[in-house]
């Protein structure tokens, strides 16, 4: 929000340069986002915090500046200008008009003035508005805008003669919910269709104002106006906010009401505007209406109990009674000592953000200055922080992959392809669904990078989202190899090799997991639980220009669940091993896993290891050539060639018999 330095200066009895002012605002109140020199004034762009509706005005900021300067001893005693005193002195004056709040306002008051003389604004008024970027219209409109910026209370001026008169020539206004499909044309000519969620000010005929946002054209003041009604109310913040957002109609008034400004300001604002009009525009005060009980809105708020030792405990700095009292005094918070170190404090009406002890502690800490608090090392905790196992393993896995030449990528969790969960309010069509796997993202990365590299390996850690009876979120590791040269089978073998290496490094034995077919993708199982998948994509699919892809994706939680990293010493083999190879042809899609299980079954304990070292698939038949390398060893004695030959022959025979393979 924009503030004029010259305007603020009117309320500050201390010479302060714009730079000094920016500095104290930054350190003790709000962030100053910028200062612009303009028309021999300095315009401050101040970021008002959302809980401080009382500061959405020059008076509000001036109150704070005085409090800070006062606390720092730069102002001896506050003798606030009349405007800062928060006194309401208007007297009721009866008249013919009346108003009824049906809904959506905490309070309202109004005043009717006749014989106003609309004219050009005086120079001081024009200058203030101009430096804040507001065009001068006429003295009446300008004063109304001035009061918003000065006191923070939005008001609306109607042309009294344009309001519908009822019986005995009486005007009656209502603050109410709009009727469905009720229409209003606002100042500037744009028409809006309203419904019951919108608040309006209406006369006997219909809406004359979108409450708290913008006035209607029908009863708007013009150059010929000489009879006016000034309305000051406090509207429901949520409603104003919603309507303003729905119509994308943001005005100074709508911003202030949306922030839930204190209702007391509606009285002060009315008095200020009425007095300014009578002084600068002239006219005769015909009617003043407010409810007497609403004067209570200006009273100090409910008390809060505050303990000096709690202030010191939270700040970590001893705060004495004198410092506390000084802060309260300059913030216009009334204090009453209950007993030693305990006080009852009453904030002024406009500080609706102060409700609990901690709120008051913040005020003390803020004025004292957080930067004046010295550093204190916390006491040593009785507990040692646990290491996060998940994190440790993730780091282990990523280091493993990094050493295999994988680069790490981060992708978006929101994707274009249809998935189980959709975003209700997406930012774009391309980011509409929650990703269900990591591989699609890695394939997209490949499409991008294939223009720059002939081969690469990439991985990503990330969360995915699945629909079961409820939303399930899981953490995965996805890895992908791309090459323009390698055949798809070689890439598949390579990714499988990396996975085997990773599993071994994590303490899985080969026996601990199986890879089985499932559609076109191999599923990876540990203890019969599926923990991930492995697969390949060829150059025909998926927009790859040239080259092939292989990949795996594994669930991190499942992986960690089955890790057995505890190792135990095992005697190194004392007796030598003997190797034999088996080369064979298979037909009718005999599975390698079946061959392996026959070898293991017949060989029993004497088979130490089996490796498949050659695969050739005939392109025009289901004939496949396979070659296995078997390592035989007996833990307790040296095997003889003869013993191995007998066993090896038996394995070959059983393979022929059971799986109809042809031994080469």
């Amino acid at each position: 929000m924009l503030f004029s330095y010259n305007w603020l200066k009117q309320y500050i009895e201390y010479k302060i340069t714009p730079k000094e002012l920016a500095n104290i605002l930054n350190m003790y109140l709000f962030e100053v986002e910028g200062i612009e020199e303009k028309n021999s004034d300095y315009i401050f762009n101040i970021n008002i915090l959302s809980n401080r509706a009382d500061c959405l005005s020059h008076q509000g900021i001036a109150r704070e500046i005085n409090a800070i300067l006062g606390f720092q001893g730069k102002i001896e005693k506050i003798t606030p200008k009349k405007e800062l005193k928060n006194e309401f002195t208007l007297k009721t004056k009866s008249g013919k008009s009346e108003i009824e709040i049906e809904k959506g306002a905490k309070c309202c008051s109004f005043s009717v003035i006749s014989k106003v003389k609309i004219n050009e604004s005086p120079k001081w008024l024009k200058d203030y508005l101009l430096s804040l970027g507001q065009k001068s219209i006429n003295n009446l409109v300008d004063l109304s805008n001035f009061v918003i910026l000065d006191s923070g209370q939005p008001l609306h001026i109607f042309d009294f003669d344009k309001l519908k008169k009822g019986k005995s020539n009486k005007v009656k206004l209502f603050i109410r919910e709009a009727k469905n499909k009720e229409k209003i044309k606002i100042l500037g000519g744009k028409e809006y269709e309203l419904n019951k969620n919108d608040l309006v000010v209406a006369d006997l005929e219909g809406p004359v104002d979108i409450a708290g946002i913008k006035g209607g054209e029908e009863a708007a003041i013009s150059q010929n106006t000489n009879h006016i009604l000034i309305l000051s109310a406090n509207f429901d913040a949520k409603k104003i906010y919603n309507t303003s957002k729905k119509f994308n109609l943001v005005t100074d008034a709508s911003i202030i009401f949306s922030h839930n400004i204190s209702a007391g300001f509606s009285l002060l604002g009315l008095e200020q505007l009425v007095n300014l009009i009578l002084k600068e525009v002239g006219g005769e005060l015909e009617q003043v209406f407010f409810e007497e009980k609403n004067k209570d809105l200006l009273k100090y708020r409910e008390h809060i109990i505050i303990r000096l030792n709690k202030i010191s405990s939270i700040l970590g700095k001893e705060i004495n009674e004198e410092t506390f009292n000084k802060a309260m005094y300059y913030l216009n918070i009334k204090t009453k000592k209950e007993k030693t170190g305990i006080f009852k404090v009453n904030p002024p009406f406009y500080r609706e953000d102060l409700n609990i002890e901690e709120d008051i502690i913040e005020e003390v800490g803020r004025l004292y200055g957080y930067n004046n608090i010295s550093l204190v090392t916390p006491k040593i905790f009785p507990k040692r922080a646990e290491l996060n196992e998940n994190l440790e393993w993730r780091s282990f896995i990523s280091r493993f992959l990094l050493n295999q030449g994988f680069d790490e990528v981060y992708n978006y969790s929101l994707i274009e392809q249809i998935a189980s969960y959709e975003i209700i309010n997406p930012l774009s069509r391309k980011r509409r669904f929650l990703r269900e796997d990591l591989i699609h993202g890695l394939i997209e990365n490949t499409k991008f990078n294939q223009s720059y590299f002939d081969e690469f390996k990439i991985f990503e850690f990330g969360h995915i989202f699945k629909r079961e009876s409820v939303l399930i979120e899981e953490e995965k590791i996805g890895a992908l190899i791309f090459s323009k040269k390698e055949k798809i089978t070689d890439l598949l073998l390579e990714i499988r090799g990396i996975l085997d290496g990773l599993f071994e490094a994590m303490g899985f034995d080969n026996e601990d997991y199986v890879i089985s077919h499932k559609d076109d993708i191999l599923s990876i199982k540990v203890n019969e639980q599926e923990i991930g998948f492995l697969g390949a994509v060829s150059n025909q699919d998926n927009g790859l220009k040239k080259g092939n892809i292989s990949f795996f994706e594994i669930d991190i939680a499942m992986l960690i669940k089955y890790i057995d990293y505890e190792r135990e010493f095992e005697e190194p083999p004392k007796f030598p091993a003997i190797d034999r190879d088996i080369s064979l042809f298979t037909y009718h899609g005999v599975k390698i896993t079946n061959i392996l299980s026959v070898i293991q079954e017949i060989g029993g304990k004497l088979v130490e290891d089996v490796n498949l070292f050659d695969v050739y698939q005939s392109p025009d038949s289901d004939k496949k050539s396979l070659a296995f390398h078997i390592i035989y060893r007996d833990k307790n004695k040296t095997l003889t060639d003869k013993e191995v030959n007998v066993l090896h022959n038996k394995i070959e025979k059983e393979l022929k018999k059971r799986l109809k393979v042809e031994i080469r």
Binding site: M27, I356, Y370, N371, I373, V409, L414, Y421, L471
Partner: protein
């Protein structure tokens, strides 16, 4: 010794020039955010913080209500939060319990509540994680980003303690013998802390006026922080009068951009290996 090796072991026709044509083993690169995250978590682990993580899809309750966001807080709006369509909702929107509305977390703070619900203080935790904001993207804003949340609760953890811990952290992350990091704190407002403040650190630029990071201000905005609001402690099931401590949250993307001089946040999520391989 070297002489001996040369004489005795290298073949006579060995061309020493040929080792210039080496066989480099290619290792991959960690994503810059991972590098920063690892460094950051490492520092906090040394300060005896425990690292905990949470889901990216949250309920409105944990992301807003439990953290003391007023019901009408603008942050809940469509313009800031991605709301997730769930089948129950579309089938029977009116009857859906409002608290169970699903969203993509807008900060890592929901884990404050979840951790406090299941642990007795004292504790020190940090929570790294991906967060989402429904806002127009530009060079310094993206729809997703990483945040690091911190929480330290005991009987009387104070602002003075916060300053000590956080200065230790920033010095470990950015400091060196020539550069002693300074911090400053400014008042701010977050519904889940009271008092609340923002923390700036001194820039590394030596007050050069054309510094692209601090724009000559000499300070860089780093995090939001404060003393945990008693209502938040209460919402998490703790007796608010017995416990006291601080919470903080910072955006890791911005720090990575500063630390590695990355000009556009979107490069972090582009998957462009020409970028990743620089790190």
């Amino acid at each position: 010794m070297m002489k001996n090796i040369k004489k005795n072991f290298l073949p006579k026709d060995f061309d020493i020039d040929s080792v210039l044509k080496n066989k480099k083993i290619k290792t991959g690169s960690f994503h810059p955010l991972t590098q920063l995250m690892n460094k950051t978590l490492n520092i906090f682990e040394r300060l005896n913080f425990e690292v905990v993580e949470g889901p990216e899809a949250e309920t409105e309750y944990y992301n807003f209500d439990a953290l003391n966001f007023p019901v009408s807080h603008p942050a809940r709006d469509a313009q800031d939060t991605f709301w997730i369509q769930s089948s129950q909702q579309s089938a029977n929107h009116e009857l859906q319990n409002k608290k169970e509305k699903l969203l993509l977390r807008t900060h890592t703070s929901p884990m404050q509540i979840k951790y406090m619900e299941s642990h007795e203080p004292p504790f020190n935790i940090v929570v790294p994680g991906k967060c989402f904001r429904n806002e127009r993207t530009d060079a310094s804003h993206d729809m997703q980003f990483y945040q690091l949340e911190g929480l330290m609760i005991d009987k009387d953890i104070s602002i003075a303690n916060f300053k000590k811990v956080i200065l230790e952290f920033f010095n470990a992350l950015f400091g060196n013998e020539n550069n002693d990091i300074k911090i400053r704190m400014r008042p701010s407002y977050f519904p889940f802390v009271e008092p609340g403040f923002e923390v700036d650190i001194s820039c590394f630029c030596d007050k050069k006026n054309n510094c692209s990071i601090c724009k000559g201000e000499n300070w860089i905005e780093m995090m939001g922080a404060g003393i945990v609001h008693p209502q938040v402690l209460k919402n998490a099931g703790l007796v608010a009068s017995e416990w006291q401590g601080f919470a903080f949250g910072m955006g890791l993307d911005r720090i990575a951009m500063i630390k590695y001089k990355i000009p556009d946040i979107r490069l972090l999520y582009s998957g462009d290996l020409r970028v990743i391989r620089q790190f």
